[in-house]
């Protein structure tokens, strides 16, 4: 007899706080504190919601991975389009920035260029599933995240790339009115990331539309984002509006900004340090004040799945 044992992170739906209440909880407290209810009137945005509830894909869930607290995943965000302050993004990304409806443009060296609504795209891709991946930021901290979405290769098959397509170039939205961080700064907006087509076709490469079985919160890159778990977090570009199949290697935002510190590949590699800190170990988000660091794994623990992509490549130079 097969007995299904629920993991601690597998909470029943009944125990979940209503999402609107959850997102508004601070606003409520603030409004009460300020003696004003003006802030409460703000509307809640909904990202791509098609396909939920998603099914857990147990193939993509390494043993012993304990997902990070939902609250921390939603409240500790690098999203410079809104703020440099990780604690501020949650608030700023939910002040009226609309992530629904949302269209993605897919173009370049492909047979079926198209502009498609995200929900429509999910439908065409055959729905969504849940995978639990490690997430390692270049700043030497890490989380474990249950992502909902579909494999990137599904999209690639859908649009039929030609032989000329060697790279995928992803672009984030550009809307300085909704995203205050896009007003100036040193970054050349919009944010751009890229993968080789072999990397993109790898079974791990994932387009996420949700976390913890719910549509992506705005601050986590709603409504659709890339997830490439063997690379540093900044490669997993958020809120994608355009995917271009190119022949030449795209220049990604961080490499353009600091070529000495960030490269094109950005594979998690404990033996190649950042110029300012070691990458050999990492802080585990949510583990408390006195917790020890965890050893960082080569390719973030996905060596088996991806190391063949980099055979013969000098990883020290191609960081």
């Amino acid at each position: 007899m097969h007995i299904r044992k629920n993991k601690p992170w597998n909470l029943p739906e009944s125990s979940a706080t209503c999402e609107a209440d959850f997102i508004n909880r601070r606003r409520f407290l603030k409004a009460v504190g300020l003696g004003s209810s003006a802030l409460l009137g703000q509307s809640l945005t909904h990202a791509a919601t098609y396909g939920f509830p998603s099914k857990v894909n147990r193939e993509f869930r390494a043993d012993g991975l304990e997902p990070t607290d939902y609250d921390l995943i939603k409240g500790y965000n690098n999203f410079y389009e809104f703020s440099y302050d990780k604690g501020e993004v949650q608030d700023l990304a939910n002040r009226g920035w609309q992530t629904e409806p949302w269209a993605i443009e897919i173009k370049g060296h492909i047979k079926r260029p198209q502009k498609i609504d995200v929900n429509e795209l999910i439908k065409k891709a055959g729905g969504i599933e849940q995978r639990v991946y490690r997430f390692r930021c270049v700043e030497a901290w890490s989380m474990v995240i249950p992502w909902d979405g579909f494999q990137l290769s599904t999209l690639i098959d859908m649009v039929e790339p030609t032989e000329k397509a060697r790279y995928l170039k992803f672009s984030t939205f550009f809307d300085p009115n909704s995203a205050p961080g896009q007003n100036g700064g040193s970054i050349d907006w919009p944010y751009v990331e890229g993968l080789t087509i072999e990397e993109a076709k790898n079974e791990l490469s994932f387009l996420a539309t949700g976390i913890y079985g719910k549509a992506l919160p705005n601050q986590n890159g709603a409504p659709i984002r890339l997830v490439v778990p063997w690379k540093y977090g900044f490669k997993s570009i958020k809120s994608i509006v355009k995917i271009e199949f190119t022949n030449s290697r795209p220049m990604n935002t961080w490499q353009a900004l600091q070529p000495r510190e960030y490269g094109f590949y950005a594979n998690v590699n404990p033996t190649v340090d950042h110029p300012r800190w070691s990458q050999a170990t990492e802080r585990i988000i949510g583990s408390g004040f006195l917790s020890k660091r965890k050893d960082t794994l080569m390719f973030n623990g996905y060596e088996e799945q991806v190391s063949h992509l980099y055979e013969g490549l000098n990883l020290k130079r191609n960081f």
């Binding site: 604690g87 700064g185 040193s186 600091q258 110029p275 800190w277 070691s278 949510g286 004040f289 917790s291």
Partner: protein, 213 residues
């Protein structure tokens, strides 16, 4: 003397003021700040570092203010608390270092990154601060003699450069935050050098005077 300047002479007030960042540190946990719970050691590391930096900038602005505006009563009042402010710069830097130790999690991790200029500038800066804090008492002034003591404490300028480097390298995109923090100090020092430098050159032979920070 105006009432504000008189009030600022009160020791208890300055002590309270210098302690406020310590009380304030408990607020993020009360506010349920996710950044605090995500990685408390990192949060406190940044917090104490920035507090120490701000106090250092404030401290370093006192003398130029006094030189440029000799009759500015408020600057005169604050100037009598320089030692307290200096010691608190050291204490917050020490807390910053302790948080860095917690952040790295173990001794071997702690010493691993000292070959990186970013970390090294912090370690050297802290060591110099330790030296200044240790010789900040009256006994040391007497023991060393006023002139030697002043010479040693001019290391504060070196600390300033290390601090600017340390602060600037922790920024990921450009140096805007660092520029904001240090702009008033750099402006004051420039004006001071422009005004006082001329005067000092003229009078060097006469007084052989040594300026202080």
């Amino acid at each position: 003397m105006n009432p504000v300047a008189r009030f600022l002479r009160k020791r208890w007030f300055i002590h309270l003021l210098l302690c406020t960042p310590l009380f304030y540190v408990f607020f993020p946990s009360l506010q349920n700040d996710t950044k605090y719970f995500a990685d408390p050691a990192k949060y406190l590391l940044d917090y104490f570092g920035l507090t120490s930096t701000y106090l250092f900038v404030a401290l370093s602005m006192i003398t130029p203010l006094r030189k440029i505006f000799p009759k500015f009563a408020i600057a005169k009042s604050i100037a009598i608390h320089r030692r307290q402010i200096g010691v608190s710069v050291f204490i917050y830097a020490l807390l910053h270092l302790l948080m860095y130790f917690a952040y790295t999690g173990s001794w071997s991790e702690f010493v691993k990154d000292w070959d990186k200029l970013f970390i090294l500038s912090g370690i050297v800066g802290f060591t110099l601060l330790l030296g200044l804090a240790a010789t900040s008492n009256n006994w040391s002034v007497r023991k060393l003699g006023g002139r030697n003591w002043k010479r040693i404490h001019r290391l504060a300028y070196l600390i300033m450069l290390l601090l600017i480097y340390h602060q600037a390298t922790q920024e990921k995109t450009g140096y805007r935050e660092t520029a904001k923090v240090f702009a008033p100090l750099i402006l004051l020092q420039t004006v001071r050098i422009a005004i006082y430098g001329k005067y000092a050159l003229k009078n060097r032979a006469k007084h052989d005077s040594t300026g202080s920070l």
